[in-house]
């Protein structure tokens, strides 16, 4: 698997991602500048966290029009894989590659924390190395992570099994008090209908190295290369 990590002006998790894909998993990884359009050689594109274009107007609103995004739309249409983490998730919703939108956190604060997330099922490429309803611990760091979609869209996401991760308690309870940012249905990560695009607010790349204390995110990347 060849990975590409997109760098927008203001991305700040790009090296964290390549540290996992190249450094820990030993996979060929290429950094892709947002002006590049030739990404045919890549199997998996990762849109990293950060504050692309200063998050001006709305998070991800300007990044969506970067030249590389046109190639990423074709990459997705060809059935190849795209993972958007945090700001990357916001960009994917702005680009219409994933439904819904990410709005200000319920309590208006930027949240930097470690939270429990429940893996909803393992019938996707991304979660096949987890157990259904397995509770994992991942870092979050965002001000606009409150997932919003209208009722029809939420029903579709539920019915199609497109929700892969939900905020929960240590025991997997998804009651509202375990929802850090007010997301509809406690949503932390979703896939598109085809399943080749995943967007998630938690940072699996920051939980993949034993040196950082926890490794619950590593199985997501390992699933891609197995």
């Amino acid at each position: 698997m060849k990975f590409g990590v997109v760098i927008f002006p203001g991305s700040n998790c790009d090296r964290d991602v390549s540290m996992v894909t190249r450094g820990i998993l030993g996979q060929p990884t290429r950094m892709v500048w947002h002006q590049d359009t030739d990404i045919d050689d890549l199997d998996v594109i990762i849109l990293p966290g950060g504050f692309s274009y200063g998050d001006y107007l709305r998070c991800g609103a300007v990044a969506r029009f970067s030249p590389v995004m046109r190639s990423i739309v074709q990459h997705v249409a060809a059935g190849k894989y795209v993972l958007g983490i945090c700001n990357g998730f916001q960009i994917l919703t702005e680009a219409g590659l994933l439904p819904g939108a990410l709005i200000r956190n319920r309590d208006l604060h930027f949240i930097c924390d470690q939270v429990y997330v429940r893996v909803e099922h393992n019938q996707s490429l991304w979660t096949k190395h987890y157990q259904p309803h397995q509770v994992i611990c991942l870092p979050i760091a965002h001000g606009e992570g409150n997932y919003y979609a209208d009722e029809d869209t939420l029903k579709k996401l539920e019915d199609n099994g497109q929700i892969l991760f939900r905020y929960c308690s240590e025991n997997g309870d998804i009651s509202p008090q375990y929802n850090p940012n007010g997301s509809c249905h406690n949503i932390a990560g979703i896939i598109n209908e085809r399943g080749n695009v995943l967007g998630m607010m938690p940072h699996p790349e920051r939980a993949s190295d034993v040196l950082l204390g926890f490794t619950d995110g590593k199985a997501l990347f390992e699933a891609l290369i197995s």
Binding site: T93, I103, D107
Partner: protein, 93 residues
């Protein structure tokens, strides 16, 4: 003075664009401001909604083209139709 806009039959429009969260979206910042206004004694305040206001000058062939372009700009970039509504007005400069 040579007026280029007459030669090319174009006109400048001062445009004012208002973007608001759709009623179905909870405006948490609006709720916080509403609480602040209540604490100041303005008990009659309700439904505080915070939006964005954008001004721009647009050169277009005529008012019809300006209107069409502003709609496109709002739909493509200035507003996110999933969560926001927009309206605008413009006047010839």
């Amino acid at each position: 003075m040579f007026d280029q806009s007459r030669l090319f039959m174009t006109q400048k429009f001062q445009s004012r664009i208002y973007i608001t969260l759709r009623p179905s979206v909870l405006d948490t910042a609006g709720v916080a401001i509403e609480t602040g206004l209540h604490q100041l004694g303005y008990q009659g305040v309700e439904n505080v909604r915070i939006g964005k206001y954008i001004e721009l000058v647009l050169t277009a062939k005529d008012a019809q083209e300006a209107d069409a372009q502003l709609h496109q700009m709002c739909q493509q970039l200035l507003a996110n139709p999933v969560i926001e509504n927009y309206r605008f007005e413009f006047t010839p400069l």
